[in-house]
């Protein structure tokens, strides 16, 4: 029922309360989480501000029924439909606060009328676009969808894998820390205080990403580089990124830039062998000779993003992978085709490398990237 506030007399509290409660319920079915106590506060607020004051009712409702800026557009729509009134457009209500990606934002298209003339417009809720985008294969996206996906990358929060360190840290339990306990006692003038303990600390392990940028992986290159950028931003000094194709290129420094587009542009300029062939075995050997021996790969978690289409000799690849496995703490192979139905790792290159990998994961969509980040974080 569309109610006109100006005709609702203050004395007829019954009718007014029904109107306002109905508005709250309509708002709830539109997707704003309105609970019973919020509705009660709304009624109290309208009683304070006066029901004849339309702008007052608008602000009272916005203050009591909405919990986030994302709810404001829905609130405006339902308010306009319910009270057939002008929404005070004093400030632009933005759909999103800027610089924050909010996936899964509920979208409410124009409502459809239900039943008889006394039913209000019910605004329907439909599954969010962003959730579906997360599970789509990156290679199949249109450029517009790719741009939308790029926003969602910011939500991946990699945490570094940890290992025990030799240094002891203050802790709630563990072995007694005599020095700290004594100092605490001195601070209290000789009165016994709390006992202080210490236990071995945790340090982050290095993460090394090797991204195959040959022709067969070219449709995934953009997404993988964005993932690498997010990773580098989360731990700038503890992550190393290399591209492998026919040459080995270190792009860690380029990816340290804050803006993803700048980082990708800088990385693109550095890499000479985009969409070329793959000589994974030789390049891996070069990596281990130059960087592995220097300790970048030692004790690290190494992630290789490749589909394993190898031009060179699979035996060479197997030998280098054996070396890598001995050097690194954990080797994770990410294959974009792994997620597809009917895939079997029987092709020469990947079959040779598989015995030396600790994990073989899929890496074709944002959801699989998030899983990969979890696996590495707990390695």
């Amino acid at each position: 029922m569309q109610a006109n506030l100006s005709t609702a007399t203050p004395g007829a509290t019954g009718g007014l309360e029904v109107t306002l409660t109905g508005f709250a319920r309509a708002l709830r079915s539109a997707g704003v989480p309105v609970t019973q106590d919020r509705t009660q506060s709304f009624l109290r607020a309208v009683a304070e501000v006066g029901a004849d004051h339309q702008a007052g009712v608008y602000w009272a409702g916005r203050a009591t029924l909405c919990a986030e800026p994302d709810h404001f557009p829905l609130y405006d729509k339902v308010f306009e439909a319910w009270f057939r009134g002008e929404v005070p457009r004093l400030v632009r209500s933005r759909a999103n606060p800027p610089n924050r990606a909010t996936p899964g934002m509920v979208e409410a298209p124009g409502g459809s009328t239900e039943g008889g003339p006394v039913q209000p417009d019910v605004v329907r809720v439909r599954a969010s676009d962003a959730d579906v985008l997360r599970h789509r294969d990156v290679a199949d996206l249109t450029p517009a969808e790719r741009a939308a996906l790029a926003q969602l990358f910011a939500l991946i929060r990699p945490r570094p894998p940890l290992r025990r360190s030799a240094r002891r840290r203050p802790a709630r339990r563990g072995s007694l820390d005599a020095r700290a306990t004594l100092r605490e006692e001195l601070r209290r003038g000789g009165e016994p205080g709390r006992l202080r303990y210490r236990r071995p600390g945790r340090r982050p392990r290095r993460v090394v990403l090797l991204i195959d940028v040959s022709g067969s992986m070219s449709s995934y290159a953009d997404a993988l580089l964005r993932l690498a950028h997010v990773w580098v931003r989360s731990a700038p000094l503890g992550t190393e990124v290399f591209t492998v194709g026919t040459r080995l290129t270190r792009i860690t420094r380029a990816l340290r830039a804050r803006d993803p587009d700048d980082a990708l542009k800088a990385a693109g300029e550095q890499v000479p062998d985009w969409s070329g062939g793959t000589r994974l075995g030789d390049v891996l050997g070069a990596f281990l000779d130059r960087w592995g021996q220097r300790g970048v790969a030692r004790g690290a978690v190494v992630v290789i993003f490749s589909d394993g289409w190898e031009r060179g000799d699979p035996a060479v690849l197997a030998a280098q992978m054996a070396r890598l496995h001995r050097l690194a703490h954990r080797v994770v192979w990410v294959n974009p085709h792994r997620g597809k139905a009917g895939y079997r790792p029987v092709q020469g290159g990947i079959a040779a490398a598989l015995p030396y990998c600790d994990d073989l994961l899929a890496g074709h969509s944002l959801a699989t990237f998030a899983e990969l980040v979890e696996v590495v974080g707990s390695a």
């Binding site: 109290r44 916005r62 203050a63 919990a67 404001f72 005070p88 606060p97 209290r188």
Partner: protein, 319 residues
């Protein structure tokens, strides 16, 4: 306005403090202190006063959330008690703490002045340890004890969930139980303003207890008005230029602005006030490209932002 009150005037509530009778009256009182609030903010703040609910302000940094609490305190003639939240804050930092070193000294004094044959009443000595003078009242307790206070809980998104639960308890009951002293109930519950920069989602249980408002950047006309009110010596032309350039910087990246990509930190009202003040110090009466490039540090606080703005300065300043 019902009869018996002066229209637009203040109405005394049960707490004896002068409470504005309508949102317009509150806006006028805030304007008298130099804070220009728009209708929505004034209505929600007035409702918070009337319903005795906390006011939860969320918004970008630099939009005047903390300033509102200060202006409210001044307008209501109340004492402003400020609790700055940080990561790891706990109840003892917010509520109260016992001054342990002083208590120990008191014990030593009692011990030193005791005559050798005197019997010591242990219970009495222990009781004297938990006296008012050894109690360090932290902001929340100060606000609860005060007659007329505005409690500002600043940046509550920096604290963690346990602190939120503690705040929720205090805000619901307006009472604090100190085991040694008893329960301290607030005679006049303070007006509570919570601010957040939305770096973390505050739990809904706390938000439900409060009245929620999102503070936006002001529009062009309002920003010019703020500049002229806060800095009366700034000429009209300069205020207009500063306000329109800052507006364009905020709009960056949505297709019609002069900047292709949005800034990492769009400038707020605080930044435009700083910029106007800086230009006044330099003695400028108009804004030109060179002066703007030199004084960019007052507006852009990130290097990438400063570079981006410097590249598009001529477009930003154009008409």
């Amino acid at each position: 306005m019902t009869d018996g009150e002066s229209p637009g005037g203040a109405r005394s509530g049960a707490d004896g403090a002068a409470r504005p009778a309508s949102p317009e009256a509150l806006a006028a009182a805030l304007r008298a202190t130099g804070y220009l609030a728009d209708d929505g903010l004034a209505t929600v703040a007035w409702l918070a006063l009337a319903m005795r609910r906390p006011l939860f302000l969320e918004g970008e940094p630099g939009t005047g959330k903390t300033a509102l609490a200060e202006a409210l305190a001044e307008a209501l003639g109340a004492e402003l008690v400020r609790l700055q939240c940080y990561e790891g804050i706990d109840a003892s930092q917010a509520l109260y703490d016992w001054d342990f070193p002083r208590q120990v000294l008191h014990l030593r004094a009692v011990e030193a002045t005791r005559r050798p044959d005197e019997q010591v009443d242990v219970a009495a000595v222990e009781q004297s340890l938990f006296d008012e003078r050894f109690l360090l009242a932290r902001p929340v307790l100060q606000a609860l004890r005060s007659d007329n206070a505005v409690l500002l809980v600043d940046e509550v998104d920096r604290a963690d969930d346990e602190f939120e639960a503690f705040l929720l308890e205090v805000l619901s009951t307006h009472a604090v139980t100190i085991p040694e002293l008893g329960t301290i109930r607030a005679a006049n519950p303070p007006m509570v303003v919570l601010t957040s920069n939305r770096t973390r989602e505050v739990h809904d249980a706390l938000k439900r207890r409060c009245l929620y408002h999102w503070v936006e950047h002001p529009g062009l006309a309002r920003e010019i008005e703020i500049l002229r009110t806060r800095l009366p010596q700034v000429p009209q032309r300069l205020a207009e230029q500063v306000a329109s350039v800052v507006m364009r910087m905020r709009e960056g990246g949505n297709g019609r602005g002069a900047l292709e990509a949005p800034l990492l930190k769009p400038p707020g009202v605080a930044e435009s006030l700083d910029w106007a003040r800086a230009l006044m110090e330099l003695g400028r009466r108009e804004l030109d490209v060179e002066t703007a490039a030199n004084t960019l540090g007052a507006v852009c606080k990130y290097r990438e932002d400063a570079d981006r703005v410097r590249d598009s300065l001529d477009r930003l300043l154009a008409g």
